[in-house]
Every structure is written in C-alpha cells, then in structure tokens.
Symmetry: C2
Subunit: 333 residues, 2 copies
C-alpha cells in the first residue's frame, strides 16, 4: 500500500488508520490527540488569526517543500501582527495515487517546521479527490497567536519620516520555484528563503519600540506589498534601488529570464517600517540574526505621492514602482 487511496478520505476505518499512522506520528501532541471535532485552546489578550492555502508546484524545491512552506507562510502572517504564533490547523487535499512516501516526507517536514517555529498543530482535516481532480497535494494552514505589543503593527500605521527596512535579499523563493519547475540551472544555486520569522520579529519589536508596519512580501513581492502599505497608510514610499539587497545569483537569473526580483515572492523575509530614529537599532538586531544578516535600510516614508512607491535608480533617475500586473509565476506558494 504505497499510494493514497480514495477511501483514506472517507471518514471511516481506512481514514482513521491512515490518519493515526501518518499524521499523529509526525504532528502529534496532546491537543491533537484528543480527536474531538475542535481543539480547545487557551489564549490571552488580543489574538491574530491568518489563513493561507498552499498549491506550490513543485512540492519539493531547493530550500524546502510544501509542508515546511505551509507552516512558515502562516506563522509569518501571524508574526507580522506582532503576535507570537502558537497554534496551527492544517487541511490536506490529496490526489488519489499520490505516493505515500511523498506525503510522509511532506508531513514530516511540516512537523519539524512546526517544532522549530514553536507552534503546535491542533486540528486537521484530510480530503482525497480522484486522480486528476487536484494536483498531488494542497495544504491549508490557519494560525493563531497572541499579540504581544500594543499598539500592534498595522499596514495603516506608516508615518512620514519612518524608515523602511527589509530583513534580507529579495526574490529568492520565487526564482527557486521557477527554476526548479522549468528545470533551469544558473551559475550559482538559487535556494528558497522559506523560514519562520517570529524569532527575528521578537527582537525587532524589542529594539524598535513601536514598530509601525511589519509585512512579509510574499506573492507579488516587495513592489506589490509596499504599494499596499502606501495605500493603507495614505503615504508615499521612496526607495533607493541600490540599497535593496538582491542575491547575485537571483539578480543574474532574473536578468536572463526577464523577471524583476522586486515582484518575486519571498517566504522568509519581512519589511519593517519603524520611526526614523530607530532605523539603526533595528538594522543592528536584524543583522545579528542569521535570518537577517543581509538586512538593509532601503527607503523612507514621505509626504509626496501618497499611495505610491517611487524608487531612485542607480543612475539617479526616479521611477514609480507599481503593483504587480498580470501573473509572473503561478503556484509560487
């Protein structure tokens, strides 16, 4: 029995055995083990809740897989609200015929990523659809965490004079997925940055005092995310292109393929917008952490062109950086 069968999703005896064998082995904890219709949680104070479905293709890629990505993506969205991620639920949609070895590799990776991120998987659901009705495996994760700062960061809290930082290089995840999918190889390997950011965020919250905005530039990349923030806060954002960290391998790959790394997804990076006088302290704690060693101050919040993002180019020109138009890369996460 080496493939996922349709009756593993039936809710009957086969699903029970399947779930107990595989999911409990890798994801089990005392809350999940109760096997009730819902998990019982104890949460203090205001709570952040976020959901994401993952359909990344391929399901295994340099730097991660759909399982670890499904943990990182959602715990990071929770962390961006200044909240310590605590609990995750996971919903699997499996294609009949998926090799069980692939599924187990994904589930084991989820379990490891959850332990590393300090979160517990407290409820789950598995559906199996017939061959051809889904592509291998889709995973939804929904996370909750306790907000530990007041006021919490918010996309509408960027203020004129704030500094804009990123915690590292842009575009790694997007290019890693594309190059794997298309069988491309570059001079230097391109690896996804998929990682859980709460540890880094916690240090930033302590160093910067009041962090105005935290956001992870996933789908749509840095360009789209900054446009969202400029719109929500009704401010302008001005970037210095030369200060935006881009890994040379990613820059090279993007040049060859005609892609802009500022619109490629990141899965282990955050944008931090902090009061201008806290920029250097924030940069220092970011760079002291392995996940933030390439952090940089990339721009500032301005009164001009509210709702828009402008960029000073290396040649001294200025251009507007709009939202992503069309689809650069489907199924990137």
């Amino acid at each position: 029995m080496d493939k996922v069968l349709l009756d593993y999703g039936s809710g009957g005896r086969a699903s029970h055995r399947f779930v107990q064998d595989l999911f409990f082995k890798h994801l089990g904890n005392d809350i999940l083990a109760r096997m009730d219709d819902a998990a019982v949680l104890h949460l203090n104070g205001p709570v952040a809740m976020s959901t994401d479905s993952f359909v990344v293709d391929p399901i295994f890629f340099p730097g991660g897989d759909i399982g670890s990505l499904a943990v990182h993506g959602t715990v990071n969205d929770v962390a961006m609200m200044g909240a310590r991620p605590l609990y995750l639920t996971c919903g699997f949609i499996l294609e009949e015929g998926l090799p069980l070895a692939d599924l187990e590799r994904v589930v084991a990776s989820m379990g490891q990523a959850a332990r590393d991120a300090g979160v517990r998987i407290v409820a789950g659901d598995t559906k199996v659809v017939q061959r051809g009705a889904a592509d291998k495996i889709f995973i939804n994760t929904t996370g909750v965490g306790e907000i530990v700062v007041d006021p919490a960061p918010g996309g509408n809290r960027a203020r004129i004079g704030d500094a804009v930082l990123v915690s590292g290089s842009m575009g790694d995840h997007g290019l890693a997925i594309l190059s794997t999918r298309e069988g491309l190889s570059f001079a230097a390997p391109v690896v996804s940055d998929s990682a859980a950011l709460w540890g880094l965020v916690e240090k930033v919250l302590a160093a910067a005092g009041d962090v105005h905005v935290l956001r992870d530039p996933t789908r749509g990349g840095l360009g789209t995310t900054l446009n969202e923030i400029a719109g929500q806060s009704a401010v302008g954002i001005e970037l210095v292109q030369a200060d935006i960290p881009i890994d040379p391998a990613v820059a090279g790959g993007c040049a060859v393929l005609g892609l802009d790394p500022l619109y490629l997804a990141n899965e282990g990076k955050c944008i931090c917008i902090v009061p201008g006088d806290k920029a250097l302290a924030t940069l220092e704690v970011l760079r002291a952490d392995p996940l933030g060693r390439d952090a940089a101050v990339i721009g500032r919040v301005v009164a001009e062109h509210p709702g828009k993002v402008a960029m000073v180019t290396p040649l001294g020109g200025r251009r507007l950086l709009g939202m992503l138009e069309g689809e650069q890369l489907p199924r990137i996460c």
Copy 2:
C-alpha cells in the same frame, strides 16, 4: 471577463481588484476590511478551533452549495465543543476557467450562511491553479468560538447510563449529493440537511445541564461517529434500530442503491449524549426547534462491549455496527 483567470491568484493588481469586487462585496466586515496579514480578534476564555476543507462534487446540490456547506461544516464542529462560533477564515483554491457567475453564487451563499450563523469571516486567501490542476473550487474554512460551558462536551465523556439522541433524520446530505451527482431521481425529493447548529446546541446545553458528548455525524455517518465516541470514552453504545429517524425518501433511495443511511454523511444533525435523567428534557427542546423536529432518543451508553456499538434490529436480533469500511461516497463534503 466572465471566468477566473490565473493572474487572479498572483497577489498583484488583478487579485486585488478581484478580491475587492467579489469577496468584500459578499463577505465584508470591519475586521476583514483592514487587509492586514492577519485579523485581530478579541476572545474570552477557552476557545474551540476547527478546520475543514470542502471538495464536494457537485458544487451546487439540493439544499445548498459548497459555500454554505463550508460555513455550516466548520461552525458545527466548533459548536460541538459547546462553543459559540464567532469567526471564520476561508481559503479558496480556484480552477482557472471557473465561471465567475458560479464563484459569485458560492461566495454570496457563504456570506448569507455566515450572517445567518452569526459568524464573521475575518481573513481569507485565494489561489488559482491552472485548468485541470483542481476541480472547479475547493474551500477551506477554519473557525473559532468561545466555549460557554464548563466542563465542555468531549468525545471521551460518555458515561454508562447516558442517553444517546440524534437531532433528526440520518443520511439526507449523503444521498442528496450522490443522487445529484449521478443524475438519479427518487419518488420523493432528497434534500441536503446542511444547516448551522449552534442555535439548537445552545438550547440543548441549557436544557440538559451537563451535556457529555456533542458530535455531528458527517463523513462516515452515525455508525462511524458512534464508534469513535465508544472508543474515546471506553464504553459500549447500544442502539434501537427502529428508533433511528430515517426520512422515507432516503430509506427508499438507499434500498435501491444498496447504501446504508447510517454511514451516510449528515451536515445539519448532531448526536447528543446526556445523563439518562436529562433525555426527555433534551428531546423536548430539540423537537421544539425546526432543525430538531425529528429528534429521537436512539439508544444508551452501556458497560458491555466497551469501544463497540451494538444495535437491536426490528426483528429483535442484535448486531454490531462497525466503522465505515472503504469509501461509500467520495467528495461528499
């Protein structure tokens, strides 16, 4: 533009327009409108959290659609913990080419079901996969609610002497899906029972005092769910087959198709296990509610055969009712 396009899932400008036009129109509220990476919620006391992915085929069926079902399924799982459902997240996986009119009908139905159930949809996510990589639309919903009773009902709390009730007829949802999918029609119409149960549950909690177990017999049906409870509580359960309510149209359809309604999914029914001396009071409040008008006491919790479910047949024999074996009906929810 009358079909879902791949770039609606890009995270860029097209997704933003699409999300704002369609999802906010039907699901919008002040929390969702903040458009941050996570919703900020205020919850008191212990919280129940549950997740479910919906892959039902067809997406429209007599008595509901995948949108209302995705709300009912998850709010019911939360309610079964004695918790008032408050907030839902939803994650959509859409197939490129899905008619926008179908999507809007589903989303509008979700919005209506959420309003009727008194819950708000506070966070969402949309992914679009290429044609053939998913079948029309899959929806994950994850819900949280505040547990209002102490101790909360739990699958491990059935006690010898307890009465076992169901809130209505068994098998309606499963047979409605199957007959729609296969284009079958019976003498009388078979309609899904998909409904939100919190209102009914709240009355049961008040009438029965300490409700030991609440469970909705969805996938796997009554037979499987009672086996789960017998196992979790290490007790036997004894049913009287003649007392289990089955709609005549469902009984007739099942007889024709060789299906057992006790293993068919329900989406608007609950099992209530209460102290024996509270059985009649519980039955009375169930029957006074339109969703519980066919409620019945169907059996009791016994010391014999712990972990197993036995049933007295109309002819006076006894047989064990095991868990569902194999898959009666894929993609029933």
